[in-house]
Amino acid sequence: MSQSNPRVLPGYRLSISFTLFYLGVLVIVPLAACAITAAQLSWDQFRAAVWTDRARAAYALTFGTAFVAALLSSAIGLLVAWVLVRYEFPGKRLFDSLVDLPFALPTAVAGLVFSNLYVPNGWLGRFLVPLGFEGAYSRVAIVLVLVFIGFPFVVRTLQPVLESLDAEAEEAAALLGASRWQTFRRVIFPALLPGLLTGFALAFARGLGEYGSVVFVSGNMPFKTEIAAVLIVGRLEEGRPNSYREATAIACVLLAASFLMLILINRLERFAKKDEG
């Protein structure tokens, strides 16, 4: 994998300069525009834009729903990955490919159909709403749609780990008299933990920034079901002289969170790889 004599092959200058140019135009310049615009606000203005009651409610909702959804995604993802790797049942390949559907389905479609399923006269809402499960235009709705989007990340990070698990460790545990549950808790789960954390982080990061589906299902009521991304769009569309900058300030908070997650995920993935090899 590592190359013994570097730069023997042609095309280094061409490929690296094109790569840098492309990333520069599409990623660095826009990010810089964001940073510069935010920096045009004084510290007090920045704080006033970022720390209003409405913005705080939006952060709490965004991080809260993304966190709960990532937790649920981890549990469901672990279950689905386990069943898909360990058991045989008819239609297994179909269900396995269905896990990828949330990756391929446009988020607007997911939002549209989820909002329709859980309203009081919807397919699922007609049974669930009488039970007190308000799955549309509520916080629960946001969590639901974020689980739909997030659980495939967990399944897809755990599947290869489960497949490569050492059968002998489990057999040894069983031979030493461990029950199946003990084996899972003490032998299998610790081996899955790095993958599970990575999947959790991926689902959480995706949930933080999600817009397309949430905007359909949440109802977008300020202080109640308005997430940070919706607030940014709202500020942008207000069209006041400073509204661009205020939107940017809130965006910077989201950006900071996204970059923290990106670094964390990179660390986790490296850690998981080291664990394997």
Binding site: C34, L79, V83, L101, T107, V109
Partner: protein, 321 residues
Amino acid sequence: MKDELKNGEEPVPGDAAARAPDGVPLSSFPLHPSSFQAKRARDPLWVRVLLTALALGFLTVLVVVPVIAVFAEALADGFGAYWEYLTDDPDTRHAVLVTLTVAPIAVCANIVFGVAAAWAIARFRFRGRTLLVTLIDVPFAVSPVVAGLMFVLLFGLQGFFGPWLRANGLQVLFTVPGLILATTFVTLPFVARELIPVMEAIGPDEELAALSLGANGRQIFWRITLPNIKWGLLYGVILCNARAMGEFGAVYVVSGRIAGETCTMPLQVEVLFQDFNSPAAFALASVLTMLAVVTLLLKVWVEGRVEKKKDDPQISQTNTD
């Protein structure tokens, strides 16, 4: 088989092995040759049934029911009405056209970028290489809405290039080029992320051999590299295209949602939904869902091809890592 038995017993002291008949049915050992089978046979039947039922239940509620619901809602008024919803509204027709313009351009741009970036990163060592890999991931981490906002800040009237663009009679925001830019940003990592590990796994040996035999860069690329990476490339393109056609947040911000001008298909779904024209929204959504299903089918097909290749012993040597 005997060897495997020994391996299994190695950590167990002699007297514990005598206990084994109680804990582990010895009858499970004859199954051992494929250790997978032995593993699967381990969980008690009721656990297997319960967990499978739960997992399939979740998959059904989360994925299967929504997909069926899209088509059921779209076809609720019959097939004729469905067809009218799709074809009678000029704005909807235009949205399809916009999506079919924006997505291919964004995908092509990201193919060129993905191949260049993978070549640079997988074939050369240089300072800042890890940073470059992280930078490619940035669009995945950034919220689509923030991505759109960044382009508003660049090209909007109050933005950095806005006044200059206006003075020259140009417009990026609220036009198709703006949609292309935002879509390209959001889908930037797909092809590159797919190709970098593929090229690293294949290694530079074949290309170095070609070079030593006197091939030039173009010949190496078209005859060696491209045939080697074509399935990985196709895989990346499929995912990239699905995202490009389905992107919502980023294009939402830069498009201004001018019906009949800058609405892509997902944006038109939202416009119809806001107009309380739910059947038409579902009709258009069903087209996007079919697109997702086709994407999945293509994905399964490509994965099948790649696995076949892995079974080929010659190639599997280079592909396992």
